[in-house]
């Protein structure tokens, strides 16, 4: 009888301490991952790309041997300060809504005479796309700490937002995935990675506001163009065309949702 009681007590003790260990373990995992992220935040290799981008911005190149210093990113020719915070936006010269990358394609082709198609077709991280990465890193640095401020006053801006929203919820592929599958609810994660809910202001601000970023897993600087491209790859979709109306519209949806959020670009990601 006594033996039995001791046994029950022992079992109870072992089980409860096991439970404590497990729950404590889960807590420390999250803490340790947070600590890891904090430790790598010091010294963001994006800075290496910014430096290269500044050089590319100011150095004459392309068939027209011109610099990008007259590129109008929406705030006037050559104005970089705060420009990325207000993109995407409608541009009357192209009669299109453009995000940073599609606008830079316009500048590189009109000012420098570089073929737009060649930029679009270049593989990520190589050739003209490598230049694009650096220029993007340079430009977005000048919006760090500012608030996202993207309007939908122009009918084309409003339309891009609505189209982007539809694209965000569009399911397809052999896994039935949409952007919304992973980014449509709050507090979820894939493996260890927290997923921002891009349908809310807070989530969109966290997501949109921290890309482009240096990605430590690949040791590469990723523009939003590559970020979206890899999302679609993981969605098991076909290949989204670089600088297309589609990727601009999806960016518009995220950016408008993120309005008011503080920009932390270039970011540093797993």
């Amino acid at each position: 009888m006594f033996k039995n009681l001791t046994f029950i007590f022992k079992t109870f003790f072992v089980l409860s301490s096991l439970f404590l260990m497990l729950s404590g373990h889960a807590q420390s995992t999250a803490d340790e991952i947070a600590r890891y992220r904090e430790m790598i935040a010091d010294g963001n290799p994006s800075e290496l790309y910014e430096a290269a981008g500044e050089e590319l911005w100011k150095k004459p190149s392309g068939p027209k041997n011109a610099t990008l210093e007259k590129c109008n990113l929406g705030l006037g020719p050559g104005v970089i300060q705060g420009a990325a915070a207000q993109l995407p936006r409608y541009f009357s010269d192209t009669n299109k809504v453009q995000d940073l990358e599609s606008r830079l394609i316009t500048c590189m082709s009109s000012l420098q005479g570089i073929s737009a198609q060649e930029i679009i077709d270049a593989p990520f991280q190589q050739g003209l796309k490598k230049d694009m990465d650096a220029i993007v890193a340079y430009v977005v640095t000048y919006s760090k700490g500012l608030k996202v401020q993207v309007g939908i006053k122009h009918p084309k801006e409003k339309e891009a937002y609505e189209l982007g929203k539809k694209a965000f919820f569009f399911q397809g592929g052999p896994m039935d995935f949409a952007c919304a599958t992973c980014h449509g609810a709050t507090g979820k994660r894939i493996r260890m990675q927290d997923l921002p809910n891009l349908t809310t202001q807070a989530g969109a601000a966290a997501g949109w506001g921290s890309w482009p970023a240096y990605r430590v897993s690949s040791g590469q600087f990723w523009t939003m163009g590559l970020r979206l491209n890899d999302c679609y790859r993981q969605q098991r979709f076909p290949f989204p065309i670089y600088g297309s109306e589609l990727t601009t519209a999806v960016s518009m949806y995220m950016a408008v949702n993120a309005n008011g959020g503080v920009i932390q670009t270039p970011g540093l990601k797993r």
Partner: protein, 208 residues
Amino acid sequence: MKINLLKSALTIFLLGLLSSYALAQNNLNAQFERMMASGFKAEGIAGLDRIHQDETQKFCSNPVFANSKQGAAKAIQIQKINLATISQPTDGKYIGDWRSGESIAQSGRGATWTDKADTVNGGGCYNCHEIDKKEISYGTIGPSLWNYGKARGYSQEVLIYTWNRINNSKAYNACSNMPRFGHFKLLTQQQIQDVMALLLDPQSPVNQ
């Protein structure tokens, strides 16, 4: 008289508003289709057919409608369509090898444009589910599957339900986030049996 006039004027106005709204919607839909058609190119094994939606995908791409009253009725219909696609194991076996199931659950490979046609697909289960507690890197889009069998028991009913759920989750929840592993042949019958074992073999670490 006056009131009647007012009423019809209002009706005409509202109809006009409605039809211009409908027109705008139609216009937006047409724009959207054009944008999607010009927004992608085929790459490797990921062809453009992947953005041609089936009825389930079309329904679930409009969450506002899917979550409405009308949508609820349609959802039941969608579930029926999906339930009808499921076939039971041809060899009558539901449970394979949990060790192999664990490695299938770990792997998130397959079906992207960087994969080959002969890449062995993973289930990617840990991306969204906690399964064996030993794996601390797990996602939370789906529920925890720790102690799956231990909690539910190992009855034939549980076996069939789980088999169906892995093969075609949309048979139970029209817009479940889970891929239809059997329906789209993402996993082979053998692989599904192995994942079943991970969840429902009493020897599996999941049920300890």
